[in-house]
Amino acid sequence: MSDKSTHRFYGHGIPGVKSEDLGGKLIVMEGADGSGRSTQIAQLVDWLETGGRPTVQVGLKRSTLVSEELQKAQEGNVLSRTTLGLFYATDFADQLENIILPALKAGFIVLADRYIYTLMARDMVRGMDEGWLKNLYGIAPIPDAVFYLSVTPEELVQRNLSKNATLDYWESGMDLGFSREVFDSFLKYQAAMSDAFRQLQKTYKFEIVDANRSVNVVNKDLRKKISLLLDKE
């Protein structure tokens, strides 16, 4: 795929990587657990690859370097907020340098199941400074599109319970002590996360997609937006 577009970084980027060398497309899907991110990505990959476009997928906690250790640390819930924030940043940077950047150099379409915004929002809800986070994630390339799948907290509860019959400890923000009841904590935490995303929206442009609708309707919507993006080439 010959590609005229290049990718700039939010900050200084990665030492030795020139933004002119980065082609391809970087498409980010954001949203809470149960907002349908992975289902949407799977359908988009089918559609793109059938159409002859090479894709690569990344997501949180998938790095070779630290994903196992990060999982272990979370199970014990022993890390403080700065440490956990930096650990996730390490996980992101490892995938950025080993998967995202090489794929963009090769002209692939990278589909990211969550990106720096979730990481920033989580840390902000835990009281970390926004300026600190912006500097930290100055290593990240600016995506071509960011879709935020917006679902009301009440609908998220229903979807998570029908899928897993339980609410995830971290997705309920149980470490924050909002409530001892996981149900109440989930609602409060998801509301706080939406606020953080709204705050981030001021700096980083997301396209908010109403994901209370059915999977197919949402996917059609996404395809239309992505087609426009690809046609620009």
């Binding site: 200084h12 640390a73 907020r81 390490t90 940077a93 930290l136």
Partner: protein, 250 residues
């Protein structure tokens, strides 16, 4: 960057910095022995020692998975873990904390590897500055000889092999250490380093170290309180016991 004293911590933090082989670890060890003997609440913390992060760091180093960016971030993670779980509680409890290397090690090393200085400093900006930083400055050749004398097997990242400075690890180590020294010296004014002449004999340096510490920190504030008197019941019990033993002896 505010110091712990300026941030109203009851404790104080003393850091030593310098190249490998500058003798800083020996000096901070001797300082610790002295403070302990003086009955001062003291805790010693080393760079790169957080249990949780260690397995990821050693995997990254062994398998040479680290880039300048991930090298920097994983060390920041390690530091944050020690900072939040050990240093902050101890400093709030009025300890004197001794650090063999502090954030300046990252500032010097990561920038030498090509990370932008503002980015590295920003990442560490959650940490307060030491109340006293001693920089052990030895001639580059002296430090290099101390490390290289035994022809140790230099590790990949330790020798800066990732920077492709030279295919020979010893040559690479020399160039790498030289560049780190330049970085240290460039920041020494900004961060108030007390420059120590590390070419001097160990015991002479230690006299200066102890003098500097007592000038900068009012040590008597950090003495352990004398052991608490035992509660009355126990005291009586112990007296009783004591009498019993006397009886036996008699």
């Amino acid at each position: 960057m505010k110091t712990f004293a300026e941030s109203n911590f009851p404790g104080r933090l003393i850091a030593v910095e310098g190249l490998d082989g500058s003798g800083k670890s020996t000096q901070i060890y001797l300082l610790k022995r002295w403070l302990e003997a003086e009955g001062i609440k003291v805790y010693f913390s080393e760079w790169n020692s957080s249990e949780l992060v260690k397995s990821a760091t050693s995997k990254g180093k062994k398998r040479e998975l680290l880039t300048p960016t991930t090298f920097s971030l994983i060390h920041a993670t390690d530091f944050a873990d020690r900072y939040e779980r050990h240093l902050v509680p101890l400093l709030r409890a009025g300890y004197i904390v001794l650090c063999d290397r502090y954030v300046f090690t990252a500032f010097a090393r990561d920038v030498t590897r090509g990370c932008p200085p503002e980015w590295v400093r920003g990442n560490y900006s959650f940490a307060c500055a030491p109340d006293l930083t001693m920089f052990f400055k030895a001639d580059l050749d002296v430090s290099l000889n101390r490390i290289l004398e035994g022809r140790p097997k230099l590790k990949f990242f330790e020798a800066g092999m990732d920077l492709r400075l030279s295919p020979d690890p010893y040559q690479s180590f020399k160039i790498f250490q030289g560049r780190i020294l330049d970085q240290y010296l460039a920041m020494s004014k900004e961060f108030n380093f007390m420059i120590m002449d590390a070419n001097q004999p160990v015991e002479k340096q230690q006299v200066i170290v102890r003098k500097l510490v007592s000038e900068h920190i009012d040590l008597k504030q950090f003495k352990r309180r004398s052991p608490l008197p035992l509660p009355p019941a126990l005291t009586a019990d112990r007296d009783h016991h004591h009498e019993g033993e006397e009886d036996k002896a008699a």
